[in-house]
Amino acid sequence: MKRYDAIIVGGGHNGLACAAYLARAGRKVLVVERRERIGGAAMTEEVFPGFRFSVFSYVVSLLRPEIIRELELPRHGLHILPLESTLTPLRPDGKAGDYLAQWSDHDQNRRELARHSVRDAEAYDEFGLLLHRMARAIKPLLGVAPPDPASLDLRELWDLWRLGRYFRGLPEKDLHALWKLLTMSAADYLDEWFEGEALKGTKSASGIIGTLLGPRSPGTAYVLLHHYMGELDGVFRAWGFARGGNGSVSAAIAAAAQAHGAEIRTQAPVSKILISGSSATGAVLDNGEELRAPIVVSGADPRRTFLGLVGEQHLPDEFAAAIRRYKFRGSSAKVNLALAEPPRFICMPQPGPHLRGAISISPSVDYLERAYDDAKYGEISRRPYMDIIMPSMLDPAMAPPGKHVMSIFVQYAPYHLNGGWNDARREELGDTVVNTLAEYAPNLKSAILHRQVITPADIERIVGLSEGNIFQGELTLQQMFFLRPAPAWARYRTPIRGLYQCGSGTHPGGGVMGAAGRNAAMEILGARA
C-alpha cells in the first residue's frame, strides 16, 4: 500500500490548491476525486459537440492574486480575459435605448449613468471609492485563518489582538460605514446612494448571489462587499472570464500541483474517512480500497464531510449539532445554451461590445424581491434574476466558428421546491428562463441549438454540493469568518486530529477564490499565512 503525507478528498479547485501548496512544501500528496473529471464547480465540459460550457461557475472574480503568483498559474495555462461591462435592459419589450449600461471607461460610464440620473452618475465614483476602502479594510481577513473572539488559544488571541488593533486604526467614518454594511440590506444600503431602479437592481443582485435571501433582507449589503473584493485587485486584472472556461482555472491549479509532485486520481469516490481513536488515518474508497495518511483534508462541504464521511459518532455533540444547523438552502440554477447566432436585445439590437460583458436581468429591486417572494414559498421565480455572459464572445474557441455559447446564472430556483425536483420541473425552469429572456431578445428561441438546464438538485448530484448551494453553504453573516462552518472550528481544523477542511464551506467562503485551499495548507504546514 502506498503511503502519503496527506490525502485530499475532492478535486475541486480548493482541494487542488491545497494539494499544490502542500506538494510545493515537499509533502507527498494524493487528491481523490469522485467524478471522472476534476474541478468541482469550476469545470468546463463539451456538453454538445463543438460547444464548451463553463457548466457551473462562469466568471473569475475572487481568485486570489497570491495564488496566481505563487502557483505560477499563467505558466500552467491560466489566461483571464477582461469582462468589463454590464448591460441591464430596463424592461421586456420596450425599444432601442431602454437599457442601463455600466462601462469600464470612466467617461463613457458617467455619460451613460447621467442619461438616467445625473445624481447617480456623480454618486457612482464615491460609492465605488467607499466600497474600495471597505473592501481594503476587511481584506486582511481573507488571507488568514479567522481568529475566534471567544478563543483562549494564544495564537488566536495574538491574531485577534492584531486585527483589533488594525480595525481601531481605521478612520472613524470607515468604521461606521463598515458597520452599516454588516447590518443593512443591500437595497437599503443602495437607497442611501442611488435613485435609479435599474442601477439599484443590478448592484443589489450581487448581494443575493448564492443565498436564499432577497435584496431587502438584512445582511445582504455585506455580501455585496464580499463580491466587490475581487475588484480590489483591479490592477492585477484578476476579474474576468478564464479562457477555456472556469475548468481551465482548475486545470491550471492541477497542473501546478502535479508539477510539484502531487498525484491526482479521478473516479475515486471516498466513502469513509478512516478514524482511529480521535485521529484521522486515511480514507476508504467506494471500491473498498484503503488509503493511508496522517493528514486527511476534505474539500467537500461540511455536511458531506462530517455527517457523511466522518460520521456523527466520531464528533462532539455540539459540533455535530452546529454542522447540522449550518445552512445550505441552494437557490441558484444554471441554463447553458448553444446558439446558432448571437442574441439581439431589443434595447441594444446591434452586435457590439455589450455582448462581451455581462447582461443582467435585474430591472429593479422590486423585480428581484418579487423573484425572491416566489422562492420563499418554495417556487421557481416566475421572473427570475439572470446574470448572463457569452463566453464565445470572449474566447471564440468555446463554440464552432460563428456559433455561440451563452451562460445564464439564474436565481431563484429553491432546492426545497414544492413537490421536489424532477425532469418536468427542470424543463419548466428551462422554459421560464428562456421565455423570460426572449422577452428581451426575441431571436433567442429560434437560435437555440442545445439547452442544458441545471437545477440545485443537479448541482448537488453532479458536484456534490449539499442542497445545491453554490458556495458550500450560504454566504450569510451568521456563517462567515470565525463562524464558518462552526464556532471554534473555523481555522480549517476539526475535532478529529489530522482531519482538515479546505473547501468553500470554510473561511473566507465561496467563489472560485482558492483562498480556503491555500489557507488550509498554510495551517497544516504550520506557517503563518
Binding site: D107, Q108, R110, R111, V118, R119, A121, E122, A123, D125, E126, L129, H132, R133, P171
Partner: protein, 392 residues
C-alpha cells in the same frame, strides 16, 4: 463614445495634429498645429482661442442662492457685487479641498458656478431647506476663452463692453447674446465668453474673424498647460487629489496647504469645513504649495557630466518629482517644465512648511541619461509670470 463640444465642427478640421485629449468626458485639441509651441507664444503675444466648453457649469438661482454658495465655497459669495466673479475652492466637512472653480454673480439672486468635477449632487445635498434652484447647464452652454494681450481689442471690435479683472457682463457680440467675463487660466489678459450651445459656431466664426487682424490662433491644452504653470495656477488631479477621490488621509489637502488661504473667509459664520479650517489656521498648515526654480548651471552641469548639452522638457510634465533639502525628502513637485518666455525651468511643488519659504535651497530629482540625479533648485514666489496687463 466621448462627447464633442459645440465647437467641434470648427475645431476638428483645424486640428492638423490629430492630437486630442480627454477633458471631462469630451475630446478637445491638445494642439492644433503639429507642435504646440506657436500656440503657446500666441497666448503671450497676440490672442489664443481655447474651447473650454467641457467645464462643468451650474446655474444657481433663487432667494437663497447666495446662502447656498456661501455654505459650499470658502469665499464670501453674498458680499460679491453683481457682475463680480470669484475664484474659489470648496471643501468637505473636514476642510479638505474637493474642487475649485468660479462663482459669477449674474444678478442679485442668480449665480453661475463652474467646476472641474461634477457637483450637482453636492450642491443639491447642501441645499436642503433652502429656497434655491440648481440646474446643470454644462451641455447647454458653450464656452470660449480668449487669452493674450490682443484679447481685449478683439472683443471690443465686435461689441464687448470694457470689463475689469474678474468682472462679468452680458453682451451682444456680432449679434449673438453672450456673457463675457474677464477671467482665464493663463495669467494673462484674457476673457471667457459664455453662449448658448446653439450659437457656438456663429460665435466661433465671429471671434476668429475679428481676431484675424490681431493674429488670433486657436490653441490647445498643451499650450494652456504651459501658460497656467507660468501663472502658478493649480490643476485638479495633477497638483492635488480632490477629497472625493482620496484613498488615504495623506492625499488630502486643505486650502491652506494649496496656497489658497487667501480664499478662505473665516468671517463667514458657517461653511463646509469651517471648524477644521479655523483650527488649521491657528496651527499653521503642515504643507505649502510653492513655486520652485531649478538652477540652470546645476542642470547644465548634470548634462555636461555625461557629455550632453542640457535637455529641457518641451511640454509641461505632470508627475510627482521628489524634492530634497538637508539630505532628506521634504516635498514633491507635481507640475513642471521649461518656460520659453522666462527662460527658466520651473515647477509647482508641495513642500513641508519648514522648507517652503522663498529662497530655501532645494534639490530636485532629475533623470539624466537613465540615471537619477539631483539638480539644485530653490523655492520661489508664485506666480512666475504676472504681467501688469492681466489686471490693468
Amino acid at each position: 463614445m466621448l462627447k464633442t463640444t459645440p465647437f467641434h465642427e470648427r475645431t476638428a478640421p483645424l486640428c492638423a495634429s490629430h492630437a486630442w485629449r480627454r477633458w471631462a468626458g469630451h475630446v478637445v485639441a491638445s494642439s492644433y498645429e503639429l507642435t504646440h509651441e506657436r500656440e503657446y507664444h500666441v497666448i503671450r503675444t497676440a490672442a489664443a482661442l481655447f474651447d473650454v466648453s467641457p467645464l462643468y457649469k451650474y446655474m444657481v438661482r433663487g432667494r437663497d442662492a447666495g446662502r447656498l454658495l456661501d455654505l459650499v465655497v470658502t469665499r464670501n459669495v453674498q458680499k460679491a457685487a453683481v457682475g463680480q466673479v470669484l475664484y474659489t475652492p470648496w471643501c468637505d466637512h473636514a476642510g479638505k479641498v474637493m474642487d475649485d472653480g468660479t462663482v459669477a454673480r449674474l444678478n442679485d439672486t442668480t449665480f453661475r458656478m463652474t467646476s472641474a468635477e461634477p457637483n450637482l449632487r453636492w450642491l443639491q445635498d447642501n441645499a436642503a431647506g433652502l429656497e434655491v434652484d440648481i440646474t446643470d447647464v454644462t451641455g447647454g452652454i458653450a464656452a470660449l476663452s480668449l487669452q493674450g494681450p490682443a484679447a481685449g481689442s478683439i472683443l471690443a471690435s465686435i461689441g464687448a463692453p470694457a470689463l475689469k479683472y474678474f468682472r462679468i457682463a452680458p453682451a451682444t457680440l456680432h449679434g449673438i447674446a453672450v456673457t463675457v467675463s474677464r477671467t482665464g487660466y493663463t495669467g494673462d489678459l484674457g476673457y471667457e465668453i459664455w453662449a448658448e450651445a446653439g450659437n457656438a459656431l456663429a460665435l466661433w466664426d465671429a471671434v476668429m474673424e475679428a481676431g484675424r487682424p490681431y493674429g488670433i490662433m486657436p490653441a490647445g491644452l498643451l499650450a494652456l498647460d504651459m501658460a497656467r504653470l507660468e501663472a502658478g495656477l493649480i490643476l485638479i488631479d495633477v497638483d492635488y487629489v480632490p477629497a472625493r477621490k482620496a484613498l488615504i488621509e495623506s492625499q488630502l489637502s486643505s486650502p491652506y496647504e494649496l496656497d489658497l488661504g487667501w480664499t478662505v473667509n473665516l468671517d463667514k459664520e458657517r461653511f463646509n469645513g469651517r471648524d477644521a479650517l479655523v483650527a488649521e489656521k491657528a496651527r499653521g498648515p503642515a504643507w505649502q504649495f510653492v513655486g520652485v526654480e531649478v538652477e540652470w548651471s546645476s542642470l547644465e552641469r548634470l548634462y555636461a557630466e555625461v557629455g550632453l548639452a542640457t535637455r529641457l522638457p518641451s511640454a509641461t510634465w505632470r508627475m510627482s518629482v521628489p524634492l530634497y533639502a538637508d539630505g532628506e525628502q521634504v516635498g514633491y513637485a507635481t507640475s513642471g517644465g521649461w518656460s520659453p518666455l522666462l527662460k527658466k525651468y520651473i515647477a509647482l511643488a508641495h513642500l513641508r512648511s519648514r522648507w517652503a519659504a522663498p529662497g530655501t535651497p532645494l534639490e530636485m530629482e532629475m533623470t539624466v541619461e537613465h540615471r537619477r540625479r539631483r539638480a539644485a533648485a530653490r523655492a520661489v514666489k508664485k506666480p512666475f509670470f504676472d504681467p501688469p496687463r492681466k489686471r490693468a
